[in-house]
Symmetry: C2
Subunit: 488 residues, 2 copies
């Protein structure tokens, strides 16, 4: 992509000025349309050291109201960040609807650096590329405008810039060791960049190579591409995208109606087992921490199925410094304004920690599907998006445990009535619960589809038969212990 | 893609029947919507020999009115087809708006076969893959629904089917040598198919792997994917797509206003030169034919600039059996119903032949742009699409010569008036010519942009200064001779 490519020709000074001014005005005008159309715009700036990524961002943002953009400059990952999955610090930094994020180097920089310093073998490199393609595709599929710029300068030009910056005491600090290394290994870098640009050049998020020899000219190229891209994105409202076939190995799962719910456990046996298993889990939690294995547990289930009590029996066994429970309700406005997985990406545990989700990302294919909070294309696409999400987590090394807490309709009615009639339990039952109950059949069909389509071998669903809550709690503990032991 | 993939599970007989019947009805209902929305649907069926591609197509089309689909079965390329560019027989077979084309194996089969028989080295393979990606992207960018199915069966299953077909005298003929070869080299084929599926799995035209173990089940998978894909495509009207940055090396070209038009040639010199050059071209045409080099010459220029007379001086020198002139007017309805490059793909010369286009595919960025016959996104995207088109032709080995026949506005006026006032020339001037003349400035800007953006090193524009038509004719002959000689 970099070699043999003719750069657009830098126009004469007068034309350059005129076009710059036109493009700046266009961008200034677009920011209100972006807001109105709720378009999120992610601008990724990659390229050679000293090519002027930062200063171009500085110029571009002058045309945008500070409330509408954020500049994110990601240097080396922090200790904290290194304890999260590779994509986490990028996913958590995506813009919200109607706003810009400018990323001053990002995932390309990270991956190509690993590659250049031989810290990624062929297989690992391919996995990273897969992750990146999925990430970018998930964004564009969900209505994000993703613009990727690569700032290109020649070897000599870079050398000249480095030397000139080094000469001056005031600018010396701007040359990083990495810049110098890059210039010394220019051809090798070129090859690695070229390969990366090639394999990540998706039609929906293509690369734009910027001739960065002159600052104003680079700014113009970015502004014109940016404003053009925005205009095109504004034309496409509520885009539907092809549904991809599942590529992840699946576990065969039963349908809900096939699951016998008459399993139960005597009080005495329950108590003994509970003590024994909690003790075991407690000990495992320590080993998890030492081995830095992250664990993600998601609970879904019918209202009044007993999720809360089940979670409590797990957390009782855990060191409070090493776990967190995330109750998931309707998204807050700032969450709703981003990709629906954003609020889960930003709640991931660090390595060695346990995150328990009381309801989860699967709301997309249940309540959001059934209440029409997202389009049909959105929820149909979501099965694959969630499998991809969990694939990232699994590749990162996480143990992923997903529970469906199952009861029958009669049991739910009894528990609803009990809640209604018991003053201290009444807060637990709302009108919404009764409304949801009316849609039992539709929910059951949705749950069946979800369980079939998202029981991957690396993150299968486990059914907790919870007519007898004791039975369900013991089963949950056993599964968690078993899954953690497999990972240790 | 083929290995480790869990196939969707074949449902029970009763469910299979119910879903088949639902999917068939859905497809039957969709055909009218497809017609109404003018959606063209290209269904590519690839896969293992004896996997049942053909019989599945046979089942699927039962639900569609015969006026709305065509089944294209491309076996080995004919002698004629082999004298056209690789993509030509696929491009010429794309569906028209509102209709289906089912391709019983296509470009995947062709490329993987070459690959398996070691007739494509690494570089050539990559070029083919690039061609295919561009082809598919051009279709989806232009509103085509492209559905790609790969029919998958295991090695043993294939062996069983081959043996069983061979046993019966009536079915024996259905087993091709290629099927047998495939089964003998199953693993090698698997590897080549897998690689191909991987690199051509674009989000806008993804692959669907069909578990082809049972015929009805295969049909269901195809029908459900097809109907789902159609529903999604129907939701997207007038989709705008990102504009890709140019990746082809360009030649620096002057602007029209910078070209001096006061060049001319004396009558006597003209006649001598004309004779000499025509004689030379005549001789080259023979050598072209023997060396099987195809030549494509495109003329664009102002009304009354002298295109016709110029072309005449070329064709006078050519053997009529070896060239064709294609006057390009507004597209016919059946042409308008397809990708705008279709009518040019179907007019390509055979190797050794010369095709002269009197006006060309560049109408897209001139008249179609200025008269609003296509969307802004369409014509802006077209520069790249035409560079890609010519890249295909150039890689095929064609000599591509593009002329812009240039006059100034005053000269045009004189010629218009002469035509108007000369009875035998009056047919040459229409109201439309006068209307176009009023838009001279807009056309000039469009032409300048076109010349800048599509003068690739493999297909640059040549300006013919045609205030003096004699000068322009001699220049055209010289350029054609020079370009052909370079290729011989």
């Amino acid at each position: 992509m970099l070699k043999d490519r003719t750069m657009a020709e830098k126009p004469e000074e007068a034309e350059l000025k005129a076009r710059l001014s036109a493009a700046r005005n266009r961008l200034a005008a677009q920011q209100m349309q972006i807001k109105e159309h709720k378009l999120p715009v992610l601008v990724l700036m990659e390229g050679w050291g000293t090519a002027g990524k930062g200063s171009t961002i500085g110029q571009v943002i002058r045309n945008i109201d500070p409330r509408f953009f954020k500049v994110v400059s990601l240097e080396k990952a922090t200790e904290e960040e290194r304890r999260k999955p590779f994509l986490s610090r990028y996913f958590t930094n995506i813009p919200e609807a109607g706003k810009f994020v400018f990323l001053d180097s990002g995932w390309m920089d990270e991956v190509t650096k690993l590659c250049l310093h031989e810290k990624l073998d062929g297989k690992a490199y391919e996995m990273k590329i897969d992750s990146i393609r999925r990430f970018e595709r998930q964004l564009t599929d969900n209505g994000y405008l993703v613009l990727k710029f690569f700032f290109h300068i020649g070897e000599k030009e870079q050398k000249k810039r480095i030397d000139s910056l080094l000469e001056d005491i005031d600018t010396k600090w701007r040359v990083s060791d990495s810049d110098k290394w890059q210039n010394k290994h220019y051809d090798k870098c070129m090859e690695v960049y070229d390969r990366y640009l090639e394999v990540t050049n998706a039609p929906s998020a293509p690369w734009y190579i910027v001739d960065a020899k002159s600052r104003k000219w680079a700014e113009l190229q970015v502004l014109e591409t940016l404003t053009e891209g925005i205009d095109i994105a504004l034309q496409n409202s509520a885009l539907a995208v092809p549904l991809l076939q599942n590529v992840f190995p699946l576990v065969k799962m039963p349908k809900l109606e096939e699951i016998p719910l008459d399993v139960m456990m005597e009080e005495e046996e329950y108590k003994e087992e509970l003590d024994r298993l909690q003790e075991h889990l407690r000990e495992l939690h320590n080993r998890l921490y030492r081995k830095q294995v992250p664990v993600i547990i998601a609970y879904e289930g019918w209202d009044a199925a007993g999720k809360g009590g089940n979670i409590k029996r797990i957390t009782e066994a855990l060191d409070p410094r090493g776990f967190e429970v995330h109750p998931i309700a309707s998204p807050e406005p700032h969450e709703k304004a981003r990709h629906y997985l954003w609020r889960f990406w930003s709640r991931l545990p660090k390595t060695g920690h346990i995150a328990i989700f009381d309801r989860s990302w699967y709301g997309r294919v249940m309540v959001e599907r059934l209440e029409g909070f997202c389009s049909e294309n959105d929820w149909k696409r979501a099965y694959n998006e969630m499998n991809e999400f969990e694939k990232e987590l699994s590749d990162w090394g996480a143990v992923i445990i997903k529970f469906w807490v199952q009861i029958d309709k009669d049991t739910q009615l009894q528990r609803f009535e009990l809640r209604q009639n018991t003053p201290e339990k009444r807060w637990k039952i709302t009108d919404e619960d009764w409304r949801n109950r009316e849609k039992w059949d539709a929910y059951e069909a949705a749950v069946n589809e979800m369980i079939q389509k998202t029981s991957t071998v690396y993150a299968p669903w486990h059914i907790l038969e919870s007519v007898d809550k004791k039975y369900a709690r013991i089963k949950a503990l056993k599964i968690i212990i078993e899954e953690i032991e497999k990972a240790l």
